[in-house]
């Protein structure tokens, strides 16, 4: 009776709510049927039901006028609740979604029917949700507490304590790098991360930290030993509080990211795909240079089956000395086009226009560039004529002292000493560093280096 009287009174205000009623529990229930089946039909019914319930709430404005005192007293709870809902609706708190529940769908002819309920007990949205986070300002330094472990290292003449402290300092810098990367990714969508979409954060953090460790000093402003304990095999674990020069770390990290993210590459590809590929690289912020040490080698092969062809597109990132850093192959199953003179060009266009393919190629290139940095830079070849050298046998040892140089290998013949090494900076900077480092063993002044390419430097 109570249900009937309320429904009657409420229906006075809005003719469109014929299927909405108030249940015995005092919940608002809408019975809605929509044409169709499945999730789409359920979603439509839910949306329609929500709208009808909102209409019902809005239409409830006239209820009090139509009730006598007795009815008013008997339904006071419901009236109060509807009143609250109406106020909330007027304040726009239901703009996103109504906290409704719905029954199991039932089929009726071609229709799917739902019973949608706005329960009296449903949690309503509140204004309190809008409270924002308190963003801290960027600071010059960052203070972190980290733990490091170390064991005696006779090779580098380090005690266990020293090794543990170095480990802790490295971790302190790494932690700051990690936090910065996270912030950049989540808040600013920085262009520095353009090529790193989807890159594993831990991997990137590790590579950058490793590079910072090899090339930097003074990243930690000060540190304090908090505790220390002995480990098995004469090891030591220390916990320190370190103050890291945040801006310095960020600056160095940016440099490394730039080296990884926007290298210069030489494109080796058949004419049919070269221009398309170069355009695409340019749009990704990768500079194309015919003198670059890094080569992007691409091949396109048509696979014909009867009257139609598919495209197999491969790219290899390698340096001029032949080291391969990454390999990518497209998903040739995506599309086939009729055989013809333009088939290859059309297929390349389509494949590079597929977001997933472009992303995969981008990731492959990024993997290649990251590999180069993590391996200590590109391989360079330095050729030094024998007549400048008083002690050619010491070339390898001296070149190994160049900051950032690694994998130094020499090969000598009667005319020249050829040095192969990895170096993370440009060929010009390497030439200058070589000139300086070889001073102690020169028989005569070195001439100005001929930088034949980003790969090869010649002193002759």
């Amino acid at each position: 009776m109570r249900k009937a009287s309320l429904a009657l009174l409420l229906s006075i205000s809005c003719s469109a709510i014929a299927d909405v009623s108030i249940s015995k529990q005092g919940d608002i229930v809408a019975d809605v049927c929509v044409y169709g089946r499945g999730e789409t039909a359920v979603t439509s019914a839910l949306a329609e039901g929500s709208v009808e319930i909102l209409e019902f709430i809005r239409g409830s404005t006239l209820y009090a006028d139509s009730m006598n005192q007795e009815q008013l007293a008997g339904n006071q709870d419901t009236i109060n609740w509807l009143s609250r809902l109406r106020s909330m609706q007027q304040e726009g708190l239901f703009t996103q979604s109504l906290p409704v529940t719905y029954s199991r769908p039932r089929l009726q002819g071609s229709d799917t029917c739902l019973q949608i309920t706005l329960a009296r007990s449903a949690r309503m949205p509140s204004r309190g949700d809008e409270d924002g986070a308190d963003w801290s300002q960027a600071e010059q330094t960052a203070t972190v507490v980290v733990t490091g472990e170390g064991w005696p290292d006779r090779k580098n003449n380090l005690s266990a304590r020293n090794a543990a402290e170095l480990d802790a300092l490295k971790r302190a810098v790494s932690q700051v790098v990690g936090v910065w990367i996270n912030q950049q990714r989540s808040q600013f969508n920085s262009s520095e991360f353009g090529l790193f979409d989807g890159q594993d954060k831990e991997n990137l953090q590790e590579i950058i930290s490793q590079q910072l460790h090899t090339r930097s000093s003074g990243m930690v402003k000060e540190w304090t030993l908090l505790s220390s304990k002995d480990l098995a095999n004469n090891g030591v674990e220390v916990t320190i509080q370190a103050v890291v020069e945040r801006q310095q770390v960020i600056g160095a990290t940016r440099d490394i990211l730039a080296a990884i993210g926007s290298p210069r590459v030489r494109v080796q590809a058949p004419d049919s795909i070269k221009n398309t590929l170069m355009d695409w690289l340019s749009s990704q912020g990768i500079e194309v240079d015919n003198q670059a040490n890094l080569v992007l080698h691409a091949e396109a092969k048509l696979i014909a089956r009867e009257n139609n062809s598919r495209l197999v597109l491969t790219t290899i990132v390698k340096d001029l000395s032949g080291n391969q850093y990454s390999y990518w192959e497209n998903d040739s199953s995506i599309i086939a086009l009729p055989n013809g003179p333009d088939a290859e060009r059309n297929l390349v266009d389509v494949h590079l226009a597929v977001p997933e393919q472009a992303q995969a190629l981008k990731q492959s290139l990024q993997k290649g560039f990251t590999n180069i940095v993590s391996q200590g830079g590109l391989v360079h070849k330095v050729i030094i004529s024998q007549h400048y050298l008083a002690s050619p046998e010491k070339v390898q040892a001296l070149m190994a002292t160049i900051g950032g140089a690694s994998n130094v290998v020499t090969h000598a013949n009667s005319r020249a000493v050829t040095v192969s090494l990895r170096y993370p900076d440009s060929a010009g900077n390497l030439a200058a560093a070589v000139s300086q480092s070889l001073q102690p063993i020169l028989s005569t002044d070195l001439p100005t280096a001929q930088v034949r390419s980003e790969y090869e430097i010649v002193f002759q």
């Binding site: 089946r37 002819g109 071609s110 009257n307 389509v350 597929v354």
Partner: protein, 376 residues
Amino acid sequence: MRNTFMLATVLVVIASVAGCKTVQPASQTSTSQPSNRASSAIVAKGAHTFTDNDIQVPAFFNTQGLDNCTFNPANENESCPLRKPIVRMYFSGTDVGGEGLGVDALRKYDDKQLLLMLENQFAGINRFRIITRDDDVIAQEQQTFLEQQGATALATRAVQQRVLQPDFIVKIDTLRTVKNEGSISGWMDYTLELTAATLNPFTRELMSHPNLGKIRVKSEDVRDRNELKYVMANNRHVTGFRYFDSAHVNSVINDMGSRGIDILLTRMLSEMPATAQVLGIRDGQVSLDRGQDAGVLPGETMIIFQYEAGFVEPIGVAHVNPSRNSATGQITRWKQSSTARDVRKKSQNAIYRPAPGTKIFAVSVGTPEKFLDTRT
């Protein structure tokens, strides 16, 4: 004493004979000769012509409900009866061996077009989801799309809608034979035998269901014998049917293949009948919970039956027409049974809905009566 002895002896002999009574063999089988007659199509009778005895539940009905369905064909639940296996179809290219009159022309027969026809016809009965093998049309359309909408639009579309992965392949094996009758004046006699198999190409398992048997089509089913007559002189063709001309032979084989496909379809519809649950009955009108989406065809003859605890009770026969995802039908004859009478009574001037625990289903009898007239 002597009499007593003789009586005892007689009794012993009788008892012995009784004990040695031989058992007659059971008669459970009969002898039957495999036939090489041409196959014919079998279609359902119209619901109006059913008698009371005809109202029986046919084989292969499926009483599974729609409870587990998502109603999304691209992501349908394994246990949903609306889920249809995705198949790719093949005409197995059986070579025609041997030498002889007309053999070369028969060997040149290309069944690609027949395959495309088969795909189209099978797609229409909605028992499988077919992946077409018409690569040329697809590639041409994509080329046109590229020219009109551009590479980005084509790339987006191609990635969003990848080619379906087949669950099975449907393989039609064909055996084509030819023989000539007569000498100077003779006629060609072609035979096409079709068998269909559903198989999993990865496990190589041949599925037992649907079992469509063997379909045999003879040239005399599609051509009058006079049309295949020819005259020879000095061992050379003079006039009549050009048995050596592949275009002429293709014409005959195409017609035979087409007829074979029609028969295949009718068998498929009997092997895989459409089953739907009855949502309600009112004044002889039945409302079904599925329609075209479950393969219910226009003018379907369906048996309405009650299903309870594994037992079926026929109620009547209905003439059913589908909408997209439901169907309605009219019961043309009620079964003479107490159950049917009860349901009929309850559904007069009111919607009868089966009680919980009892379900009423409708199952198609086979190929709709007018299917071959309107769809082949």
